[in-house]
Amino acid sequence: MKLSTGGSVQTDIKGRISEPVERTFDVVGRPVKKIDSMGMILGEPVYTDDMAPSNVLIVKILRSPHAHAVIKRINKDKALKVPGVKLILTHEDVPRVPFTRAGQGYPEPSPYDTFLLDRKVRYVGDAVAIVAGETEEAVDEALRQIEVEYEVLEPVLDFEHAMDEGMPVIHDEPDIKGVYNPSRNIAAHYEMSVGDVEEVLKNCEIVVEGTYYYPRSQHVMMEPHAAFSYLDSNGRLVVVSSTQVPFHTRRILSRIFSIPIGKIRVIKPRIGGGFGAKQAMIVDAYIAAVTLKTGLPAKIVYTREEAFVNTYTRHLMRFTVRVGADRNGKIKAIDMKGLSDTGAYGDHALTTFMVAGSKTLPLYNKVEAVRFSGDVVYTNHPSAGAFRGYGAPQGLLALESVVDQLAYELGMDPVEIRKMNAIREGESSPIFKIMGEGREGVEQVVESCKLHECIEKGMEIIGWKEKWNKKRIEGSKVLGVGVSIAMQGSGIAKVDMASATIKMNDDGSFNLLVGATDLGTGSDTVLAQIAAETLGVDVEDIIVYSSDTDMTPFDTGAYASSTTYVSGNAVKKAAEEVKYQILEAAAEFFGEPMDNLHIEKKKVVSKSGKSVTFADLCTTLYYGSDQRQIAATASFVGEVSPPPFMASFAEVAVDTETGEVELRKFVSVADAGKALNPELALGQLYGATVQGLGATFNEELRFDSRGRPVNASLFTYKIPSRGDHYINNIECHLVDSYEPTGPYGAKSIAEIGIDTPAVTVLNAIYNAVGVRLNKVPVNPEELLKKMEEKK
């Protein structure tokens, strides 16, 4: 086994290669309670809106009623006379700087196609004016009093025709940057191939093809976007924001307002969920504009409707997949051609599209040729963006459906065809090198992969052998089972950087300062476990602070399944350095060589029998001799992005009278490396699974023929509730592996669970009734019709 692949993490402070073998741990691998959960459950004011000062200006946005229009004239005179109204900003009043809201590493792979306020509106709900006032009533009244004259343009609503000749151009402004072909509404384009796909397909004994759609769903984190801002006593802009990306937010604000990064501070308190919807600068610039203009504190809290329409949705994608194989089921070529709808703005447009290939195609790494290509187009819909899975659920729906088609065409067991073709430990795929996120990727050998174990375990739980290929009927219901496999990544290799600072206190506790952004996942807890494990202390001895651009070192943020792996490695490195400093100081203290010493339960113990507690050692260093602060900052960039793997199984009962699908059982078994906190890891897996099942059965943000959203409320857009029939029928498991480049063997777990539910259920429906649906959410009506047609 190669140990050097992951860069410096396996090497301890003196450059020795540490043992990547399994050993017993004191803190990691245990279900440590989430360290911030007690404050949350007591109802303490820990979220953004809870902490906002009471004298703050209320900020709301005037929104466009048209999907595509040019603002001819805005009159704010009447609105400004509403008592209590302080400020109204229109496109005439704000700096015209193109930017992207996408919270990505700089320079962002997303186009700079957005302005704080623009002359043109590009979807129903696009921002027209920023209104600030002393009370909500005043602001609401002002919103009603602003007069806007629009020149209404023809909207582009069908993404499959957005590139057509003669379609209205959505982004015709000359000062945007990084758009692939604005005149054809193409935000991004990508193509790559390995080998001659057409040639290999021609020589295949069987070629199957299918076209699949994954809808525009929404994150629906429970806390809508919120932020407040003020000027501190030195006149610096402070923004407290419910964000996954405080450092990117700081940089984007600096760009928009042309103020130095050093004059901005972004603080992230506890976050009520994000799932990608907060991997962006969504609301912060609105309040910053008000605070910078007035000098007064300002607050914005999105309504649920705004959270639906004015943040992000998942990219609606269509993929046509061709898979060629020999008659034994050995897959020889895969061709994936896609089209993605990024809506009005190109946030995460290219990268989500590439992930649809880069996080699916390596699953079938033994092909002779593979191709991935397509376009990301603008339409006059709300902007799509980052959403858990980040393109992988869309790509996987198509790929794993077509692989299923192949199995049935060949009369093979769908599990067997996957076992035969799927990637294994020690193997690689050319895709890793070719496809990164918005650019070239990184070559890597998969050093931990228990995918086949995941498949075996899932098969056993679902009872595959007893159930597959058996006609099972209960009254009007027909039963069937389905399978799919998936992978994700762990951070973005050679792009995402995380850092951590640890400093020792004189009671033997440690402050752990991380830029990593716990958005409700429990990453603060996992990072504390890593620090505690390394330093030989309890989790309670680690005081975590995340994240604050003034106080904590840089971290790209919580996205791309990066926190445990990338930020975790940074924490481990920082802790190792602190540990070295402790041993060094103790060696001086004892007057003994360092080799004599080791750490044991918050003490440094020498072979000579001497020992000193951390508290005493630090107190001595503070007040006694050779005074200094033990502290270290370390950074980490992944040289690779080791994928977690997963196998999922579903058992459905399809009612042939109504087309309704009952999910009898859903099983996901994942290899996330060593689970540093199994309870939190499983929490991620269950949560992602249920979110994926929501998209499978219910969730799709819909629009009328004029582009107006029709179900932007929790009453009309149903997310899974306790009352959903399948909630009790879900089983998630982890298969432990050990990722040598990971902190204590860990890979990622946050996203992968959402990739499989849709395709697994569709495959099970096919097994039950022989109808292959090509999109989710499963529509009972469509299924009933197709069953009728089959009769």
Binding site: D140, E657, N698, V710, K718
Partner: protein, 286 residues
């Protein structure tokens, strides 16, 4: 924030209620729908007057052949009422599926009727049980059949200054079988794409009483009285429900909407009715 300002009265007697109504206030009960409508701008009101503190509008009165439910009685209070369990089990079946616990703790049956949604589960049961409303104003009280009260989706015959005191539901003949079936998004708190309520009384294989009400398949709940009458005295035979299902199609006029097409609504209603024998259940004894 609710986004608009209005007056809100909480009278404690019906007399006080009438005074507020004469000032232009709208009578409201649990407000679970009203608050959403006001907030989303679908309803504009200068003043609301809540009936929920009025003692004389609370509770359930039992008679031999009917049950009177006062306007301020919540769904939860109905579900906790032991007397209703055997008198009107179909009502409890329907009510237990309305909203969530929080909604049922505030919402009322009378409110559901006034809402007049063709998908209203409570309204459907009120149709099925020949619901009759007592409507009062300064001029006195009148009684109106629920069927005549509902004029269309969201439209009812309630004049300014009037409020509903109660709804009286008839207890079905002893030993009736009943069914309440919803087809919809398979989730709690979802509105069904179609719903069917049935009451059936058999005597030695002969139909003595038959009633059916259908939700979400027309501008309001459908109760095909003529069809019901034609079934009385027929022998309960195989194929009867199939014939019934076919004939029912002439009584419904579903539309396409975001949740389902007209075709699908017809199709599922037909199939539920064809298979009614699977869904029918007996009343649990007292």
């Amino acid at each position: 924030m609710i986004g608009t300002s209005f007056s809100f009265y909480t009278p404690s007697t019906e007399r006080e209620l009438l005074i507020t109504l004469s000032k232009g206030a709208l009578p409201v009960a649990g407000m679970t729908d009203v608050m959403v409508k006001i907030r989303t701008g679908k309803m504009k009101a200068k003043a609301l007057s809540s009936v929920s503190r009025i003692e004389s509008l609370k509770g359930v009165q039992m008679a031999d052949d009917a049950v009177t439910i006062m306007a301020a009685t919540t769904y939860t209070e109905l579900l906790e009422n032991k007397g209703l369990k055997w008198r009107l089990p179909i009502l409890l079946d329907a009510v237990s599926e309305i909203g969530s616990t929080q909604i049922r703790n505030r919402g009322t049956l009378v409110g559901n009727i006034v809402n007049a949604s063709p998908a209203g589960d409570g309204l459907l049961v009120a149709y099925l049980l020949d619901g009759n409303l007592e409507i009062c104003s300064n001029e006195g009280c009148r009684s109106v059949d629920v069927r005549d009260f509902v004029k269309g989706p969201g439209q009812v015959a309630l004049a300014p200054g009037e409020y509903i005191r109660s709804v009286t539901l008839k207890i079905p003949p002893k030993d009736s079988l009943y069914a309440f079936v919803k087809v919809g998004q398979r989730s709690a708190m979802a509105i069904s794409v179609a719903s069917v309520g049935v009451l059936l009384r058999l005597n030695a294989g002969t139909i003595e009483d038959f009633r059916i009400a259908l939700g979400s398949v027309a501008p309001t709940v459908v109760r095909p009285l003529e069809l019901e009458r034609n079934l009385v005295s027929l022998k309960m035979e195989d194929g009867l429900f199939k014939t019934l299902a076919g004939e029912l199609m002439n009584y419904i006029s579903p539309i396409d909407d975001i949740r389902a097409s007209a075709w699908y609504r017809r199709e599922v209603v037909k199939r539920i009715v064809e298979n009614l024998s699977v869904y029918l259940k007996g009343v649990e004894k007292q």
